[in-house]
Amino acid sequence: MKKIFTRPEALKDAPNHYCPGCGHGIAHRLIAEIVDETGIRERVIGVAPVGCAVVAYDYWNFDCSEAAHGRALAVATAIKRLRPQNIVFTYQGDGDLAAIGTNETIHAANRGENLTVIFINNAIYGMTGGQMAPTTLVGQKTATTPSGREGKGHGYPLKISEILSLLPGVCYVERVSFQDPQHVLKAKAAIKQAFLNQIKGQGFSLVEILSPCPTYWGMSPKDALDWTRDVMQKEFPLGKIK
């Protein structure tokens, strides 16, 4: 019998700390699969965020740097400029990329840095206990919007991918989801594209993943996947943005 699905070499054989049904585990694995498939494990450098994925480097089997909250793209910019032969990517949540790090995000994109960005949008702050994220939906209840987010006053869900797509320095932006296995495979194809763009020197590429947070959405893992499909996508439609 032939193995047709197994752990990629770029993912360490270690249990992760994520809650049951969390999308981070899927995203980590897809990146590792692509690193293996493109043969870059020995030259890839990942930059981990602050948020639930802060110790992503404990799970990936390649070189990684920590970055201060929101600063992953500043750190990655310098690494890539100095080591253009290495493949450098950042892995960032919605708070990291689109709230505290908006400045670093927009300017790295605007400079057209030849980087790959994996953006996990789960519409919530998971690590700190379920507070409002920049991408929290209007009406969504969080620890800091107990009556639901209101656009005026709390702000509307920030469509950072659409904003970035307007910049001439940006090469590729696509929004994907983990709602079912077919969509996970589509997400993988998009992430692979974002890595291949860098390998070919084509510039800033970002993949936004609508990723489930069952714990702070207060749902079962299955219901959380369905919520990304039935509710989140009304605000954040899937597809290639640029």
């Binding site: 019998m1 032939k2 193995k3 047709i4 699905f5 197994t6 752990r7 993912l11 249990p15 992760n16 994520y18 809650c19 049951p20 049904g21 969390c22 999308g23 981070h24 585990g25 899927i26 694995r29 983990f178 079912d180 296995p181 996970v184 495979l185 069952p214 079962s220 893992p221 299955k222 996947l225």
Partner: protein, 67 residues
């Protein structure tokens, strides 16, 4: 026939694999693993088609598929 192997100790019991198996061969098990999760089990009598949908959706990389 294909075969699915589940790493019981790694399983957190999110049951996403249960929801995506086209043959409904994966079920919530009756036992707990060391981490206290109700791990999933595969029906040994069922005919697995090796589609790997369970492995693709598994957030903990605890499913291997052979064909």
């Amino acid at each position: 026939m294909a075969k699915v192997i589940i790493n019981r100790e790694r399983c957190k019991g999110c049951f996403l694999c249960v929801s995506v198996c086209p043959k409904r061969l994966i079920k919530k098990g009756s036992k707990l693993n060391k981490r206290g999760s109700n791990f999933v089990e595969i029906d040994p009598a069922g005919v697995c088609v090796g589609c790997a949908r369970c492995a693709i959706i598994c957030p903990d990389c605890c499913i291997e598929v052979y064909k």
